[in-house]
């Protein structure tokens, strides 16, 4: 017969490490709530910097596209002003012969620098080889 009074309670036969029960609560808490849980970050917060970067890039692209065109247009205008000159229509058909051309140039008093005379001009049609040499060494 198992005599209960002769056999100690099971608990007294088994021992536990020192302060086991006193420290159990804290160990359990450490397992349930690990230290310093990271706060959850919303997806929007995560992509905000990228949105900002994309917006900055878009603005820079727009500026790059717009401003140079504006500047370029204005500088083109200036250069066109620089080069603006009175257009001179020169007819080179047979009705506008050399004498008419000379008259035109002298009466109109157009600076010779503003007139482009090409080698095939009617002005040179009667010139000899010696005339060319003479003209090339003459200063006007």
């Amino acid at each position: 017969m198992i005599e209960k009074e002769n056999i100690s309670k099971q608990e007294s036969q088994f021992k536990v490490p020192d302060r086991y029960f006193e420290e159990f609560d804290q160990r359990l808490k450490n397992r349930i709530n690990p230290a310093e849980e990271r706060p959850t970050v919303s997806k929007l917060t995560m992509i905000k910097p990228w949105i900002g970067l994309a917006a900055a890039f878009l603005i820079l692209t727009m500026i790059y596209n717009l401003i140079p065109n504006h500047i370029l247009n204005s500088s083109l205008n200036k250069s066109s002003n620089l080069y603006e000159s009175e257009e001179v229509e020169v007819w080179t058909d047979e009705s506008f012969g050399i004498h008419e051309l000379i008259d035109y140039l002298t009466i109109k008093n157009i600076a010779t620098e503003s007139v482009d005379i090409y080698p095939d001009s009617v002005l040179f049609s009667d010139l000899t080889h010696e005339d060319y040499i003479f003209l090339s060494h003459t200063e006007y």
Binding site: K4, K15, Y20
Partner: protein, 183 residues
């Protein structure tokens, strides 16, 4: 002086006070649950693991506890299932190694520095280890914890009659082992 189960239940059911209620629950029942587990698994480290796992499960399911069973019964049921699952898993591991778990646990008892019982007590423990797990539970809960059969019936989900029969056979077997000095 511990608060009553009813007082703890009231705290648990308030989300703002749930943690405080849980702390009181741990303080009140940790020792009883520990010894319940220790008797089943023998080794202190295993009992410690199971006790923590039990309370973690309790914490995770506090919000769903409806109070239809007493807190005590609920805790014991979780702890008991933890112990049985642990033993089944250990047994499965040993099956592959062709080792007998009862022999291993008896050997652990011999080598355990945290067992301070005399030779008779050791023989009793080793005899208890020969019982099937559920029968061992019944024996421990009745003999050492002096639990009522109605309480055990709720925890183990077994009829009172079956529990009485199980305990009767457990006592008979242990007596035979000790009297025949098989341990």
């Amino acid at each position: 002086m511990h608060p009553t189960d009813q007082e703890i239940l009231v705290l648990i059911q308030m989300p703002a006070e749930r943690e405080a209620g849980f702390d009181l629950l741990v303080k009140k029942y940790k020792q009883r649950l520990y010894w319940h587990l220790r008797k089943m698994v023998v080794v202190h480290e295993d009992a410690d693991d199971l006790l923590q796992n039990t309370f973690i499960k309790v914490w995770n399911n506090l919000s769903t506890f409806r109070g239809d069973a007493s807190i005590y019964t609920w805790l014991y049921r979780i702890a008991t299932n933890e112990a049985l699952n642990f033993l089944n898993k250990r047994r499965d591991e040993l099956l592959n190694a062709f080792e007998d778990m009862e022999i291993i646990m008896a050997s652990q008892l011999d080598q355990d520095p945290l067992f301070s019982g005399d030779e008779i007590q050791k023989r009793l423990q080793k005899s208890i280890l020969t019982l099937p797990d559920k029968q061992r539970l019944v024996f421990n809960m009745k003999y050492f914890d002096n639990m009522k059969y109605e309480e055990m019936s709720e925890i183990l989900n077994t009829s009172v009659g079956a529990l009485k029969a199980s305990y009767f056979h457990a006592v008979k077997k242990i007596r035979a082992l000790i009297e025949n000095e098989l341990f």
